[in-house]
């Protein structure tokens, strides 16, 4: 099978307009004859469901939480980018496109990224019209801030709760369609499989998480909007329920998985306090605008700090190493996420980590408080300081914060073409669930943009083309493929329920997380990855022998839900390792120790690795097959990122 990204012909800036014109339309009267299944109601799913409902399609939407409003998009803090150039500071569609391609370390598709930058402006208009209360200036117009080291102020925000407000906007649009009867919402339903007929996706199998009922749903197309898989690392900034199950089961039914090893590690998270830790909390990147990152100069001082015999504010100026400022004088504390994260990790590995566990460096506001005054600092970061205090019981106005990187986002995901179609016709992937437009590293404030772009402005066009081509003939769950897939799911559930071993699924998950973080995290080596592969295979075998799953299917059963997700994470973990092993270059958040410049920076290998890795599932316990989508760059010139 050859990969065809279906990138339209023509000049970059005209591709999308031309493509929209070339796409087939569904006659308005025919739209109600099509049933669309949407799994996930985060930004991507809710916006798609609302828009397709408005257009007249019959939509069935699913989510595993008790309400669509709780999708993990709700947790995004910082903001959403758009090339509005409201600040007159030189922004443009092309600049946003360029920054995104470069930020992604030249591993994203030009055409997709340009389209993203184009529609970014419509997203803001749409959200404002829905009543999303973006921050405003006194004059009543929208406010912007600069984010993640970007040189223009193009980030729209709603205090530290941008994701929440955007999701509530999409949720309200979704609610309107539910009320109108165009969308039927299924909450507390988990999708467990995709049904394919003659190679086309025609439906899904779900488990009702209240009753355990395993049901089938038929549709002309299935849209997966199920978010990212950062939780493969066990600890991440994702919600506890975020999982890869939907994407993974689709992968097993033929959808290729793109760049699985591309994960983003966010530098400013609150460090782990102990083994009980269930998740990590992100603190907005904006903290690095005024905070200075440092670690003690020597391991001895670090040791004293860890033991508590020395307090951070007692460390003499000369004994502090402001390592980002030292190594990257031009950007200082504002280097991109991947660089900041990797350097913190290095400090810890050199024995200079602080905090009880030793897995932390300092983010110090003493200078900022001296320079700006406590009031100004409070006005800017008050809510973040409060949050830090809530969690750690330490006062960041008096003591420097402790921070450590944490997994935050997965650029990898189901491979999709320009139309957001996976390799299974009729099966689409939107939002963080697809392998996305962010290449090897995502810029701050662009995931929200992508989710909404996919849902509001891309899929309504591209899906219509597919639907017009297949015609409105009813899809019926009586087709034997539905029963067959349902039986597969029931067998899988029963197999999980039969596990009455000695270790909880949570313990397996934590172990998987340790392996992934250690060997497939910020820095990777061939040797480590090979070792990790063995460890994961052993873990998988052990899981199916010794895990404990309590209860039965016909009830609310969190143990069963968890077990299914952990089992899928373990399989995904192995694929991530394979992908990381294959990619011998360093790029974006993916640092291969074997591939670095003389001064220790990430070294890309454009000649051999300027491609998207798309993996094809070949059967249980079989090695997956790699397909390459070569990336070609016409509008940008590939250069080594340099922040020194």
């Amino acid at each position: 099978m050859t990969l065809d990204a279906k990138i339209p012909q023509g000049p970059l800036a005209e591709k999308w307009s031309k493509h929209k014109f070339d796409l087939k339309l569904v006659n308005p009267a025919n739209k109600r004859k099509y049933d669309i299944i949407i799994v996930g109601t985060g930004l991507a799913g809710a916006s798609a469901a609302a828009t397709l409902g408005e257009l007249g399609y019959n939509v069935k939407a699913f989510c595993f939480q008790d309400s669509p409003r709780r999708a993990h998009s709700i947790a995004a803090q910082g903001g959403i980018n758009a090339a509005k150039n409201y600040q007159n500071d030189g922004d443009s569609v092309f600049r946003l496109f360029y920054d995104t391609i470069k930020g992604g370390d030249y591993r994203a598709r030009e055409a997709n990224v340009h389209r993203l930058a184009e529609v970014s402006v419509n997203i803001i208009d749409q959200c404002v019209a829905q009543g999303v209360p973006f921050a405003r200036e006194y004059g009543g117009l929208l406010d912007n801030r600069s984010f993640g080291g970007s040189q223009v102020s193009r980030t729209f925000y709603a205090r530290g709760q941008t994701g929440q407000q955007l999701l509530l906007g999409a949720y309200s649009a979704l609610n309107r369609q539910i009320h109108a009867g165009k969308v039927k919402m299924y909450t507390r339903h988990e999708m467990l499989d995709v049904v394919t007929i003659d190679g086309h996706a025609k439906g899904i199998v779900t488990r009702n998480m209240l009753t355990g009922a395993i049901d089938t749903h038929a549709g002309h197309a299935v849209l997966l909007c199920t978010g990212g898989y950062s939780n493969v690392f066990y600890l991440s900034t994702n919600a506890i329920g975020s999982n890869v199950t939907a994407a993974w089961r689709a992968h097993k039914r033929g959808a290729f998985f793109g760049n699985p090893c591309y994960t983003q590690i966010h530098p400013t998270c609150i460090p782990v306090t102990g083994d009980h830790q269930s998740k990590l909390t992100l603190m907005s990147e904006s903290l690095r605008n005024d905070g200075r990152v440092w670690a003690p100069k020597t391991a001895e001082i670090a040791e004293q700090l860890r033991k508590g015999t020395l307090k951070a504010d007692q460390v003499k100026e000369d004994d502090r190493d402001y390592f980002l400022e030292r190594k990257y004088p031009a950007f200082g504390n504002l280097v991109p996420r991947d660089v900041a994260s990797r350097n913190a990790k290095e400090m810890v590995e050199e024995g200079k980590g602080v905090g009880g566990s030793g897995f932390a460096v300092f983010l110090d506001f003493a200078d900022a408080i001296k320079r700006l005054g406590e009031e100004t600092v409070k006005a800017k970061y008050g809510n973040l300081f409060d949050m830090y205090y809530q969690i750690t019981n330490e006062n960041p106005y008096k003591q420097p914060m402790r921070i450590y990187p944490a997994v935050h986002y997965t650029m990898g995901g189901l491979w999709v073409d320009y139309n957001l179609s996976t390799t299974v016709p009729g099966l689409y992937a939107l939002g963080e669930c697809n392998f996305s437009d962010h290449g090897a590293n995502r810029l701050g404030a662009s995931a929200l943009m992508q989710g909404l772009s996919d849902g509001y402005f891309v899929i309504p066009y591209t899906l219509g083309d597919y639907l017009a081509k297949i015609g409105p003939k009813k899809v019926d769950t009586n087709h034997p493929a539905f029963e067959k897939t349902k039986q597969d799911v029931i067998a899988h559930v029963n197999k999980l329920l039969s596990l009455k071993g000695t270790k909880t699924t949570n313990e397996y998950h934590r172990e998987l997380g340790h392996i992934m973080w250690e060997y497939c995290g910020m820095a990777r080596t061939e040797e480590g990855l090979k070792k990790a592969k063995g460890l994961i295979q052993a873990l998988k075998a052990d899981f199916w022998k010794n895990a404990i799953v309590t209860g039965e299917n016909e009830e609310v059963n969190a143990s069963l839900e968890r077990a299914g997700r952990v089992a899928d994470f373990i399989e995904l973990g192995e694929l991530m390792i394979d992908d990381a092993l294959m990619r011998k270059e360093s790029c974006g958040g993916h640092f291969r120790v074997e591939s670095q410049t003389p001064d220790g920076e990430a070294l890309r290998d454009d000649e051999n690795f300027a491609f998207v890795a798309a993996w094809e599932f070949k059967g249980e316990n079989q090695p997956e097959e790699l397909h390459k989508e070569q990336l070609t760059f016409e509008a940008v010139h590939l250069s080594q990122r340099n922040y020194a």
């Binding site: 947790a75 803001i124 009543g131 009980h276």
Partner: protein, 256 residues
């Protein structure tokens, strides 16, 4: 620290429930309340017992999924936070903690400590939106909104739909939740065209769900993790009476 938990266990809405006591041992004060429950659940699972079921997801106070009525307080004794943000250092060694589900006719129990809050969704579906289709909207800066109005609308918009207001209210009234949405959209220019219609349909749905009515006691405001203000309720009342008594604005449907 070591604690005794008195936890409400109930298989489902149909069967009767009861309190069961558990020991929570070696609890670190740095743990969050939910992590403490995780520890208890891990040990229950090891014994082959059914773990305690509770709702949670983001664990950072924003998704509104977590609940729990802890020692007489929804989301525990600290103000302005959710249960997932509550840390065990708030409690002392040897304490007995009673954990109950949200109690309201409109929030039937799902299992143990989890309840069904879909009534909230239905209220939002009844009218908690601005009716604009995707595309064809004016430029984001076409409608200037005074900063104070935008900020005030934002305060109302921060509601996470957790239901603590209902849990705290002696009347199990949902008015704080409902009024927050009505106020957010009622303050903004975008929400004006449907302002009086919205309030009528959302209140009608709220009544249908079987929530109690507000006596302005303010327990909701005191327990709301997002500190949504009681003023929202007065705003909703004002809009409602204004709609019903002085405006011939019909509701899009008569009842349901």
């Amino acid at each position: 620290m070591n604690l005794t938990l008195k936890v409400w266990r109930q298989k489902n809405a149909q069967t009767a429930g009861k309190f069961v006591s558990y020991k929570a041992e070696n609890i670190s004060p740095d743990m969050s309340f939910l992590e403490m429950l995780d520890v208890v659940n891990e040990s229950l699972t090891h014994k082959g017992d059914e773990p305690i079921n509770f709702d949670h997801d983001c664990r950072e106070g924003i998704c509104g999924m977590c609940s729990l009525y802890i020692n007489g307080h929804p989301h525990g004794p600290k103000r302005g936070i959710t249960t997932c943000q509550l840390h065990m250092r708030t409690f002392h060694d040897g304490e007995t903690i009673t954990i109950e589900p949200w109690r309201a006719e409109a929030f039937p129990i799902v299992k143990d400590l989890a309840v069904d809050r879909s009534a909230f969704d239905r209220i939002q579906q009844a009218g908690g939106y601005v009716s604009v289709n995707t595309g064809g909207v004016p430029d984001g800066n076409a409608i200037p909104i005074p900063k104070v109005i935008a900020d005030e609308a934002f305060n109302s918009a921060t509601c996470i739909g957790c239901g603590a207001c209902v849990a705290a209210c002696k009347n199990a009234s949902a008015m704080l939740f409902v009024s927050a949405k009505i106020t957010q959209l009622g303050l903004l220019p975008q929400g004006q065209p449907e302002r009086y219609r919205r309030v009528q349909s959302m209140v009608a749905q709220m009544d249908e769900e079987g929530f109690g009515s507000c006596t302005n006691t303010g327990a909701c405001e005191a327990e709301c993790p997002k500190e949504i203000k009681l003023t929202n309720i007065a705003r909703m009342n004002n809009d409602y009476f204004s709609a019903k008594l002085f405006r011939e604005e019909e509701v899009h449907e008569q009842g349901h």
